[in-house]
Symmetry: C2
Subunit: 162 residues, 2 copies
């Protein structure tokens, strides 16, 4: 028997405890290129720890569909992790607050086109779950010598519904 | 009177003197998430200089169309700059080799869907030129105290044709 989770739209305010929403809104911080480009400057709290460095990788994930069941969350204790969709397709973002070293009840956000996310260091989150093919993302995360991964499996699965 | 430039398809090999092509091809470096995601690991030579740090910004640029005329190239002496399209639309990538501190004859590359680029530190390049709206990109570049910008205007403009 799984526990139902309903999706919420992804907003910067709702997502603030978990990370940054990467999106264009409002006036740019700087206008460049003779007025033809707006720069929304430094929009993610990147964190690569003391002994890591920034890396840029590409992830190609199998698309999922709703209802989507999961029983695993993970976190990266040594660095932030940003996901930038290279398509206009929405994806599912599952996160949870930390409760004494374990994830609390997960929350599920549904992105709008042109939204990415940056998970802050140590944020519990689900695996990458695009909802359409190709599930193609650029990822900015920590590259370093440590394992940088913790996983927790819930006793009962959750099922995300629209 | 402008000088005509013809576009070439963007390939890793042709672009190697200027930077990295960010694209999925071949087998992933690592399979994660129980086989459901391929990680193409650490695909860009990121460089933030001695006193800079990595930043993640969003650029929203006006779309251009071909023929496209320009007379300005720029470079960032203190860091690399990666452009990740957040749409599937192709864009134009204009670069030039350095000739004793000035750009040589420019080359124009046309991306395919799902290709991004990372300009290596100091690479001469044109301003961001999407060919369709929205011209929306995530940018990973150096954030620091220096100006980190050189611009050169050519005596004669170039015109990029298909």
């Amino acid at each position: 028997m799984s526990v139902k989770l309903y999706t919420s739209p992804l907003t910067a305010e709702a997502f603030a405890p978990f990370g940054d929403v990467l999106e264009i809104n409002g006036a740019p911080d700087k206008i460049i290129n003779a007025g033809l480009c707006g720069r929304y400057h430094d929009r993610a709290a990147l964190d690569f720890g003391n002994e890591g460095r920034a890396g840029l990788s590409l992830f190609s994930a199998e698309p999922r569909s709703l209802p989507y069941s999961f029983d695993l969350l993970e976190r990266h204790p040594d660095g932030s992790q940003a996901f930038i969709p290279m398509t206009e397709n929405p994806f599912l973002v599952i996160v949870a607050k930390d409760m004494s070293g374990k994830p609390g009840t997960p929350q599920a956000f549904l992105t709008a086109p042109h939204q990415g996310v940056n998970f802050h260091r140590g944020t519990w989150h689900g695996v990458l779950t695009p909802l359409a093919a190709p599930g193609l993302f650029a990822v900015v995360d920590r590259i370093g010598a440590t394992h940088n991964l913790e996983e927790v499996t819930f006793d009962r699965p959750y099922t995300v519904v629209a």
